[in-house]
C-alpha cells in the first residue's frame, strides 16, 4: 500500500456525508480516546438520529423523549417553531439526556465532522459529567428516569380520563408555577429511586383502599381542643416548618387535595428535582463537554483519523461555540457558559502542566501536578458552578478576559460604580461575585413556608427574604400565589422581608373553588 492510501485508510470518513456505519466508526474512535486516553467513565451510549421537527419537539418538552401532555409544551413548540421558520434561530446540534443508557440526539443535517464533534461532546463529555458529578449522583436517577417519565405520562393520562382534562390541567398549571420552588436544596435521607416510585404509588393507593372504613367518617369527634393548647413550636415541628420546598409541603400537608392531585404534585416535583443539578452546573457541564470534544478532536486529527479540511470545519464551529463577546459588544448577552467553562478547563490544564509562580501561590494543590486529566476528573466530580468558579477562576484568566465588577445602587444618582477590576486588589472580589452569580441559592428568590394557622382560618404564611432590597415581581407573584392558594385551599399570605427584618411588602391570595369541586369539606 502506498503512503497516501494508508493515510486514506485511517480516515474515519471523507467529505461531509455519513451513514450508520460511519457513525459507528466515529463512536468507536471517540470511545477509544475517551476511555483509553482521557480516562472517562460513561454510561452506555445510545445515539438517535432525528429531524429538525423532532428536534423542535424535543425542545418543547425540555429535551425529554417522552413527557406528559400539557398546553405549555405546545406553546413552547409554537414559539420555537416560529423563530426557526423565520430563520432567526438555529437549532442546537444535539440534545443529550441524563439517563442510562445516555441518549444523544443528532440532527440529520449535520455533516460528518459535526456528528463527530457532537458525539465527542455529548456522548462522552456530557455523559461523563452526568455519571460522575456529585450533584447528579445525589439528585438524579439516570437508570430510572425514562421509566418514571413513562409512568408519569400514563398516570396523568389516566387522571385526565377519570377526573377530566380541565381539572388535571389546572392542577398542573398550579404545580408548574411552583416548580422552581419544588426542589429539595439540601441532601435528604435517601437517594432518589425513581424505579420504586410507580410501585410506591400503587402501594399507597392500595393501603388507602384497605384502610378505608366509612365508620370513621361518621364517628362523632370529641370536644375541640382549645386553640391555645397547640403551641407554635410544636405545630411547626409537626409540619416540618419552615419549609422551602413548597410542592413537597403541599403534597404532604395540603388539607384539601385529592390523592391524585398529590400524586401530580409529586410528579412535577420529581421532574423539577431531576433538572435541579443541571441548573447548578451549566458552566461546568458545558465546559467539561467542550473540553472533552476539543481533546478528542485534536487527538483524532493527530492520529490522522480526521482530514485537515474536516478539522478546519471543526475548528470553525468550535470557535463559534466558545465565542464570548465583550460587554460593549452588540452581541453581548451575559456570559457564554461554553466559553467560560472551556476557558477555565484549559486554564486548569495550564496550571497543572506549566504553572507560573502566581499559580503556585494561588493553587498550591494542583499547580504542577503534571496530569491534567486526573485533576480535571476530580474537579468534574466534586464541584458545581458556584464552588468551581470560586475556587478555580485564576488571576491569569481574569486578566485575560479583563473581568470587572459593577456595583449598581439605584440610590446612587451619579451612576454605576466600578468596584473591582482585573488587578491585584480585585481578583478575589471579582471571583467571589462571579461565583455568586452562578449560585442559584443566591439568584433565585428564597421563599419559605413559615407558619400555618391551624387553629384558626388555616391561613398559610410564607416569607421571602429580600436581600439588597430585591423584591418580587408584582403581577407574576400574585398569579403564582393564586395558584398556591388554589392548591392549599385556604388563604395564603406572602411577606417580603428585607435585611433589617422589616416587612417591606405583603401579598395575599384567596383560593378559587376550581380545584376542589365536590370534595368532602366544601
Amino acid at each position: 500500500m502506498t503512503q497516501a492510501a494508508m493515510q486514506k485508510d485511517r480516515l474515519l470518513f471523507e467529505g461531509a456525508d455519513w451513514d450508520f456505519t460511519t457513525l459507528q466508526r466515529i463512536h468507536d474512535a471517540c470511545e477509544e480516546i475517551a476511555i483509553g486516553e482521557l480516562g472517562l467513565d460513561v454510561y452506555p451510549n445510545q445515539i438517535e438520529v432525528i429531524t429538525a421537527e423532532q428536534m423542535l419537539d424535543a425542545y418543547s418538552s425540555t429535551g425529554m423523549p417522552l413527557f406528559y401532555r400539557h398546553w405549555s409544551f405546545g406553546k413552547h413548540f409554537a414559539h420555537h417553531e416560529a423563530f426557526y421558520r423565520r430563520g432567526m434561530r438555529d437549532l442546537a446540534y444535539e440534545i443529550v439526556i441524563n439517563s442510562s443508557p445516555c441518549i444523544s440526539y443528532l440532527m440529520e443535517e449535520n455533516t460528518a465532522t459535526m456528528q463527530t464533534l457532537v458525539i465527542a461532546h455529548a456522548a462522552f463529555g456530557h455523559n461523563h459529567f452526568f455519571k460522575n458529578n456529585y450533584l447528579f449522583k445525589l439528585w438524579t436517577d439516570a437508570e430510572g428516569i425514562l421509566d418514571y417519565l413513562d409512568f408519569a405520562k400514563g398516570y396523568i393520562a389516566r387522571c385526565e380520563e377519570r377526573y377530566g382534562e380541565t381539572a388535571v390541567e389546572r392542577t398542573l398549571d398550579a404545580a408548574h408555577a411552583l416548580m422552581s420552588h419544588g426542589v429539595h436544596r439540601y441532601a435528604g435521607k435517601t437517594r432518589l429511586d425513581l424505579r420504586q416510585e410507580e410501585k410506591r404509588q400503587l402501594e399507597r393507593r392500595a393501603h388507602e383502599e384497605q384502610m378505608f372504613n366509612d365508620l370513621w367518617r361518621t364517628v362523632p369527634t370529641g370536644r375541640k381542643r382549645d386553640a391555645a393548647d397547640v403551641d407554635l413550636e410544636r405545630r411547626r415541628a409537626a409540619l416540618g416548618l419552615p419549609q422551602d420546598n413548597l410542592l413537597y409541603f403541599l403534597e404532604k400537608s395540603s388539607p384539601r387535595l385529592q390523592p391524585w392531585q398529590r400524586e401530580i404534585l409529586r410528579i412535577v416535583r420529581h421532574v423539577a428535582q431531576y433538572f435541579h443539578p443541571q441548573r447548578q452546573t451549566k458552566v461546568m457541564n458545558e465546559g467539561t463537554a467542550t473540553y472533552v470534544h476539543y481533546q478528542i478532536m485534536e487527538r483524532l486529527h493527530d492520529r490522522g483519523q480526521i482530514s485537515d479540511g474536516n478539522y478546519f470545519e471543526f475548528l470553525k464551529s468550535h470557535t463559534n461555540v466558545v465565542f464570548q463577546p465583550t460587554y460593549d459588544d452588540r452581541r453581548f448577552s451575559g456570559f457564554n457558559p461554553y466559553a467560560i467553562g472551556f476557558a477555565m478547563m484549559q486554564d486548569i490544564e495550564r496550571i497543572v502542566t506549566k504553572p507560573t509562580d502566581e499559580d503556585r501561590e494561588w493553587f498550591p494543590d494542583i499547580a504542577g501536578r503534571g496530569d491534567p486529566m486526573q485533576v480535571l476528573r476530580g474537579i468534574w466530580a466534586d464541584y458545581r458552578d458556584e464552588s468551581f468558579i470560586s475556587q478555580f477562576l485564576s488571576p491569569h484568566l481574569i486578566r485575560k478576559w479583563r473581568l470587572f465588577q459593577l456595583y449598581d445602587d439605584p440610590q446612587m444618582s451619579e451612576g454605576i460604580l466600578v468596584s473591582a477590576i482585573h488587578d491585584e486588589r480585585g481578583y478575589k472580589r471579582v471571583r467571589r461575585q462571579l461565583a455568586r452569580e452562578y449560585d442559584i441559592g443566591w439568584t433565585d428568590p428564597r421563599i419559605d413556608i413559615i407558619d400555618v394557622d391551624l387553629a384558626g382560618d388555616r391561613r398559610l404564611l410564607l416569607q421571602h427574604r429580600a436581600p439588597n432590597d430585591w423584591v418580587l415581581e408584582d403581577s407574576e407573584t400574585r398569579q403564582v400565589l393564586q395558584h398556591l392558594a388554589d392548591l392549599w385551599g385556604y388563604d395564603v399570605m406572602l411577606q417580603e422581608i428585607d435585611s433589617a427584618e422589616k416587612v417591606v411588602k405583603e401579598h395575599a391570595a384567596h383560593p378559587r373553588e376550581i380545584l376542589h369541586k365536590g370534595d368532602l369539606f366544601s
Binding site: 401532555r69 416560529a82 465588577q405
Partner: protein, 425 residues
C-alpha cells in the same frame, strides 16, 4: 452502543400539545385571527399564516425578582475602567442588567404560525347554515365503512391478529398439538434413561409427538381472520348557496371591497364546513350573469343597476339545475342599495313570490361608504326588502360601512342558533 434512526417515527408528536395550547388560547387566537382578516388582502386570507397573540392568559408565572434593588455584576472586556470609576447611567434605562434569554419576551406578545386548517377552524368556530336539517335527504351519496364482524378473506392490513391467534390456539388445543415443553421433558427423560428398552419406547413416543407437531401447524390458513367492513350509505344534505353581487357603477371601490370580503368569508365558510355545498356566483349590473369564482372575486365590470335581473337569473338557475324539493337553497345578496325605480315592482314581486318561498335563508348585505351609519338605511332596496321582510322570516338584512364590521355581521348572520329563531335584525 446503539444507533437508532428516529427520523421515520410518526410525525406530529407535539400535535396534541399544540391543540391544547390553541384551545387554551382560543379567545386570544380568535381575536387575533379576526384582526388579521381586516388587514390582509383577500387572497392572503385563504393561506392561514402568522398571528400574534398577547401573552395574557397563557403566561407561566413563577416567583421572580423585580428589576431594581442593589445589584452587583461581573462583565468581561474591560478596556479603560479602573476601580472607583463611576459610569453615568444610560439614559432611559434602569440598571443595565442583561436580560436572560427566555425571560424578556413577555411583553412583545407571542407570534406563531397557524396552519390554514387551524386558521379557518378558529374563525369559523361557531357558524352554521341555518335550517339545513329541514330538507335532509335520504339519498345515498356518501358511503362510510362500518365494522361488520370478521371474514376469512381480506387484505393483510385488516388482519385481525387477536382473532387469528385465538382460533389457532383453539385448534391446537382441540387437536392436542404437543407443547414444546412436553417434547423437551421427553427428550430429557431419554437423555437420562439408562434402560435401553424404556429409552426405545420413549424415543418412539417422541417420534410420534414430533410427527404430530409437524402435522398440526401452529397457525393454519384456516385460522386466519380479517376484520370486515361494510359500506353503509350516509344521508347527505344537498345545499346550494347563491351569491348575488351588485357590481354596477354606483358601487365604489370601498363598497366592492366590503362586498367581496363578505363573500370571501361566506365562500371560506361553506367550502370548509360543507363539502357538498354548491356555490353559484351571480354578478349583475343591469343584466346578470353567472360567473366563476375567479371572475366573481377579481373580475372588473360596470354599468347600471337592475336587481330583478339577478333575481331572475337565480330563478332560472334554480329551475334548470336545483330542484327545490331536493336542494336546500340559500342566497346572499350584497348591494349598495341603489336600484332603478322602474325595477322596484318586478324585483319585489320576484323576491316575495318566487325566490323567498324556495329559499331556506336569504341574507341581504347593504354596503355603504366608510363614513356611513350602519344602523340606519334609506336606500330604495332596503325599503323594498324591509316591506317584504315583515311577511317572511327567511330574509335577514344588515348594513355594513367599515371593514371591521364585516366579520361581526357575517358572524351574526350565520351563527349557530336554536332551530326556531330566525336571523331578525
Amino acid at each position: 452502543m446503539h444507533i437508532i434512526d428516529r427520523r421515520l417515527n410518526p410525525r406530529g408528536k407535539s400535535l396534541e400539545n399544540r391543540q391544547r395550547f390553541l384551545r387554551r388560547a382560543k379567545d386570544a387566537v380568535q381575536q387575533a385571527v379576526r384582526r388579521s382578516l381586516q388587514s390582509r388582502s383577500i387572497r392572503d386570507v385563504l393561506d392561514g399564516g402568522e398571528v400574534s397573540l398577547p401573552i395574557g392568559g397563557m403566561g407561566e408565572p413563577s416567583f421572580r425578582r423585580a428589576e431594581g434593588g442593589i445589584t452587583d455584576h461581573v462583565l468581561p472586556g474591560n478596556r479603560a475602567f479602573v476601580e472607583g470609576d463611576i459610569i453615568p447611567r444610560p439614559p432611559g434605562q434602569g440598571a443595565g442588567r442583561p436580560k436572560e434569554a427566555g425571560q424578556g419576551d413577555g411583553e412583545d406578545g407571542f407570534r406563531f404560525v397557524l396552519t390554514r386548517e387551524e386558521f379557518l377552524s378558529v374563525f369559523l368556530d361557531d357558524l352554521e347554515l341555518p335550517e339545513l336539517a329541514k330538507r335532509r335527504l335520504s339519498e345515498t351519496e356518501e358511503m362510510s365503512p362500518v365494522r361488520a364482524g370478521y371474514s376469512i378473506s381480506g387484505s393483510p392490513s385488516n388482519l385481525s391478529i387477536d382473532r387469528t391467534t385465538r382460533l389457532a390456539m383453539m385448534r391446537r388445543i382441540a387437536l392436542k398439538r404437543p407443547k414444546p415443553a412436553e417434547i423437551e421433558a421427553l427428550q430429557r427423560q431419554i437423555d437420562e434413561s439408562e434402560n435401553e428398552e424404556t429409552r426405545l419406547s420413549l424415543e418412539a413416543e417422541l417420534k410420534s409427538l414430533t410427527d404430530r407437531i409437524r402435522r398440526i401447524p401452529y397457525v393454519d390458513p384456516l385460522d386466519v381472520r380479517y376484520r370486515r367492513f361494510d359500506n353503509e350509505p350516509k344521508p347527505v344534505a344537498k345545499a346550494v348557496m347563491f351569491c348575488l353581487m351588485d357590481v354596477s357603477g354606483s358601487m365604489s371601490e370601498h363598497m366592492k371591497d366590503l362586498a367581496k370580503r363578505f363573500y370571501l368569508l361566506l365562500y371560506l365558510f361553506l367550502s370548509q364546513r360543507y363539502e357538498k355545498v354548491e356555490i353559484v356566483f351571480i354578478r349583475h349590473t343591469e343584466k346578470a350573469e353567472e360567473v366563476d369564482e375567479e371572475t366573481f372575486f377579481y373580475g372588473q365590470a360596470t354599468g347600471g343597476t337592475l336587481v330583478s335581473s339577478a333575481l331572475a337569473a337565480m330563478r332560472s338557475i334554480i329551475a334548470s339545475r336545483f330542484d327545490p324539493t331536493e336542494w336546500n337553497i340559500y342566497a346572499a345578496q350584497a348591494s349598495d342599495g341603489d336600484n332603478s325605480y322602474r325595477d322596484e315592482a318586478p324585483a319585489g314581486h320576484l323576491l316575495r313570490h318566487e325566490i323567498l318561498p324556495l329559499c331556506q335563508y336569504f341574507a341581504y348585505i347593504e354596503v355603504d361608504e366608510e363614513g356611513g351609519d350602519s344602523s340606519v338605511s334609506n336606500s330604495p332596496l332596503w325599503r323594498l326588502y324591509e316591506s317584504i321582510r315583515s311577511g317572511s322570516a327567511t330574509l335577514a338584512m344588515r348594513k355594513v360601512c367599515r371593514k371591521n364590521e364585516i366579520f361581526p355581521v357575517f358572524h351574526d348572520l350565520f351563527q349557530k342558533r336554536s332551530t326556531q329563531t330566525k336571523a331578525v335584525p
